[in-house]
Symmetry: C2
Subunit: 604 residues, 2 copies
């Protein structure tokens, strides 16, 4: 996922560098703490500094995007980083405020309270709490496999649609107008309707900030290096440019009183000091309304964390553990909630930056958290005149690279069903909002999975002459016994394919009027669910009514364990002494000989 | 599904009787019309009569259950039956008002309008229209495989929970009290709170009707037969008892003025005459709110139709076509909508009765529709004093047999995941309502499917000595080439299992430091989605970086067709001339010989 996010793209495509992997923590301290080497500290500290440069404007911008006061973004950028350092399984993940999670937060709370109100903030904190608690519970239940609930095209479509929705929404603040509406079309037409009343000073500030921020994604560093600036200095300076631009724009606004004279929208009063650790819960009814959004936010955050974490870890032969990551992201959101923050997750852009800047361990995150604390205790007074247009520019630059048509194109060329899943999800997000989009995405992923496995392959098999092997009669020259219809089922049997399997088996029986033994080779069947068990029992009754006998061969151990004690197994194995035939060959020998009036073993 | 519905249970368990199957209609007239034999008419007419006996009380009762005026139930019992006769693929399906669909209708419209209001009825008609349109579209798109969206335990849990919810709700009308609440617990506690104020006359009528209705499910017929009544007469009389009881109870209420004197609740004014064919649509916003309920109702109706239709059809060697059934159920609901009715579906109890009464073709439904028309034009005056307690008894008897603990018990013994899906769905319906229940059910079905396929089996394979066959090294005595790590993937590759497959493949590579050829045998792989293609490309990059070469063998035709043109195929097949190895044996011969410095074929 997130395959083409600017610089991250290059990193994720890079060749993997073997490095020292950290075993998962088993004791009280995370493994990276006990194994820490002093000479790593310079690298971790530099990475923490560089990430903080990016985090300051992003955390303010994403809080505003979520409809929250700017300081909530700072609150969400301290304890969560510490929590990840303690619980996380990735060495280079940078957690904190996240553009798409902020959009989902706004979508969840927007209908319930007025943006900027105390109640709105309380609900955002509650949402972080619920997200954290849900992830923690899922992690304890070891439901890490849920990171596989969404296919790659669906994730890409969701991220692309959300990014486009965010980018469209930020054109308003960039121009100094306030669009209305929740869908991309509504927002865009509201902006077009008001385009005449744009604010010139706001647009001027935004128009300067936008290319500066864009250049910080890579071009500036390369340009500085070509101009002879030492590589390390060029890298640090380029990373600091967005923050410098933010400070400069704020100074210009403050110096010229642009917020008063020209009505340039600014962040407004930002209370200073550390967050008070506490939890204020809204009424139970409100909490219930936030449950589904919390699950959606948790899923998107978790899927992103696994994807980012794994991409980065593999570059250095490290591993991440999906269940540990579930618990870590749960702890991170709980930490955000108790410090008055909003839902958070791993950020692709900052994680990639952290990796590129040389972070060795999560200590980089701790350094970053310390720097954010300094900002919070020292600089909130100056933050209140940060122009919103510059935050809008920050957001646009951060999300524009997430729009990923490459996956759509590749899917279109390879598998239309996957391409349609991309389109359905992206259009769902743009037209109906993030929550509807994620539901559509899950639905499309699973429907595609169901659809593919709903057409199972069933082969009529015969014996390869002179061997004990059996192969598809339509692809190999094999011998068959006219009394025995042997079929190999090439897919697990479950509710999603019992109907076509049943139809096909009955059709094969009708096509083989000479046969009266139905032998099912289950060598490729790893699971039979209750629905499929019912189908097989019905098939057995049907076979008996038709004067046939049904048999099983090559049943896998786990499948056989579950079948023991069912009426089906007893009924279909009395010719083979209570157990399925060990091999199709054994079945052919025994069933063939019985037809030849040889003495048959009696069931015990 | 619906496995233990009273008499249906016995029918569905019966042995199948070969009979004349009708090919799906291809011309203008349904096949059963062109092939109709005159001597079938007596059977069809009798079946139509017997089903009408049951349909009169049920259609009134289910309309009231849905919160609608009683005549809406009659409206929904005429044209839909004709529509099914034209479009349906089952010979014995009886469509019309349906208890669970009525409950879902009430749940969908209850929050939007006051029961009994004109708006409420308009919304119900709109819901039927949307349901019909959605099913028709799905049918035209040939999405019949969606009948497999729910596993059997989930369907059983949903039906059981809905039946229990309906039954609990009908205890109120049976006692003459009006319970409040939407969940089973709320309704039950509301009934308990008001239990002292029950209406004695109402309870008396209900207490007489309940065992009469119950006896009509089979006991009465057997008792009459034992008492010497000819079998055919006993059958018809037993079927007519509920209708006779309804008429009698109405006569008692009218004769004694019980509705006035004793406040026995009655159906109230029922306008006579045929429905006016028209469509009155509410505002677009309302329509949008009904879309999800319409999809849920359509899914439940469709799953039920396929299940009932198939169970009955198989008893007579007939077939039903899921896509035709989608379109037919769509037409049935559109027919209900234009005649002022509410959403309808195939009824298990009436279909089983229709089958048992000897229906040969859908002409039985047409006969039934004609009889219902006679009721509507002649008897609506008498319907207004039908006591509601008798309708409640009708409903309770109809739904109580749907509660199916047998499937729960079987699932518990066979597969806990399926049992949990049953419980989660039933509890979801009871605690959170039908729509939440159906969502939970779909979620649990698909999560179980995903979970099972998320742990794929991967075998290291070696050559069976002296043959060209390859088997699992941990189960057979086979020869391996230390330079070649050959792995057989025993599951389709998709987003739901790429992570564990990737992990396992890399782990096997780490366990085989001597090898430098990674050979993936894909004989069991029928599908590779885009997410899995990405995984394989990543694995190939990883293999190259480690100094390995990756190869494929035994790639199935459809998979190979899709892989053509991908970078992956080009990269992993240059050792085999641009195509995967035809067999694992060929790969061993060729890769082995190259290691032995034999001349290797050059890539073209």
């Amino acid at each position: 996922m997130y395959r083409r996010c600017g610089e991250a793209f290059h990193i994720l495509r890079g060749v993997e560098i073997p490095n020292n992997p950290y075993p998962a923590s088993r004791g009280r301290l995370p493994a990276w703490v006990t194994g820490y080497r002093r000479d790593w500290f310079a690298q971790d500290a530099l990475a923490g500094l560089v990430v903080a440069f990016m985090l300051v404007p992003q955390c303010l911008a994403y809080a505003v995007l979520a409809g929250l006061p700017a300081q909530v973004g700072l609150y969400a950028s301290i304890l969560p980083l510490i929590a990840y350092a303690v619980f996380g399984s990735s060495m280079t993940m940078a957690v904190g405020p996240h553009a798409i999670i902020a959009l989902m937060t706004a979508a969840a709370i927007g209908p319930l309270a007025a943006p900027g109100s105390t109640e709105y903030t309380t609900l955002a904190v509650t949402l972080a709490l619920l997200t954290g608690a849900a992830l923690m519970v899922f992690g304890v239940l070891r439901l890490g496999f849920l990171s596989q609930l969404l296919s790659q095209p669906v994730i890409s479509g969701f991220v692309s649609g959300s990014a486009a929705l965010i980018a469209v929404g930020q054109v308003g603040p960039l121009l100094g107008i306030v669009p209305s509406g929740h869908t991309a079309i509504a927002v865009a037409s509201s902006i077009v309707a008001q385009i005449g009343s744009f604010n010139p000073a706001t647009l001027a500030l935004g128009a300067i900030a936008l290319p500066l921020f864009w250049s910080a994604r890579g071009a500036l560093e390369r340009w500085l290096a070509r101009a002879g600036v030492p590589a390390q200095a060029a890298k640090i300076f380029a990373r600091a440019v967005p923050l410098l631009a933010l400070v400069l724009a704020t100074a210009v606004v403050a110096g010229l009183d642009l917020d008063v004279v020209e009505q340039v929208a600014v962040v407004g009063s930002v209370p200073g000091g550390l967050p008070v650790l506490r939890l204020e819960l809204p009424a139970a009814g409100r909490v219930a309304q936030l449950l589904i959004p919390a699950l959606a936010i948790g899923l998107i955050g978790f899927v992103g964390n696994v994807s980012i974490g794994q991409s980065l870890a593999r570059r250095r032969m490290e591993r991440i553990d999906a269940n540990a990551e579930l618990r870590a992201l749960g702890a991170v959101n709980l930490a955000s909630a108790i410090s008055g923050g909003f839902p958070v997750a791993g950020s692709l852009s900052r994680s990639a930056l952290n990796f590129a800047a040389g972070a060795r361990t999560p200590l980089a995150g701790v350094v970053c958290a310390v720097l954010m604390t300094l900002v919070l205790v020292s600089s909130t007074g100056t933050l209140e005149r940060v122009p919103r247009t510059v935050l809008a520019a920050t957001i646009i630059v951060a999300v524009i690279g997430l729009i990923d048509f490459a996956t759509l194109r590749r899917s279109w060329n390879y598998d239309r069903a996957d391409a349609l899943a991309w389109l359905g999800t992206a259009i769902g997000v743009l037209g109906m909002g993030v929550e509807a989009g994620i539901s559509i995405g899950i639905g499309l992923s699973l429907t595609a999975l169901l659809w593919r496995s709903s057409r199972p392959h069933i082969a009529v098999i015969g014996r390869v002459p002179g061997t004990e092997h059996f192969r598809n009669v339509s692809r190999h020259a094999v011998e068959v016994d006219p009394a025995i219809l042997a079929l190999r089922l090439d897919e697990n049997l479950h509710f999603g394919n019992v109907l076509p399997v049943d139809e096909q088996l009955r059709a094969e029986m009708a096509r083989h009027p000479m046969a009266h033994h139905l032998l099912l080779e289950l060598s490729s069947v790893n699971h039979i669910d209750v629905t499929a068990l019912d189908m097989l029992e019905g098939l057995n009754r049907y076979a008996l009514a038709q004067g046939w006998q049904m048999h099983l061969s090559e049943v896998r151990g786990p499948v056989l364990d579950k079948l023991r004690g069912t009426a089906l197994l007893a009924e279909v194995t009395h010719a083979s002494g209570g157990t399925p035939f060990l091999s199709t060959y054994h079945a052919f020998v025994q069933l063939g000989s019985r037809d030849a009036d040889a003495p048959a073993p009696t069931p015990d």
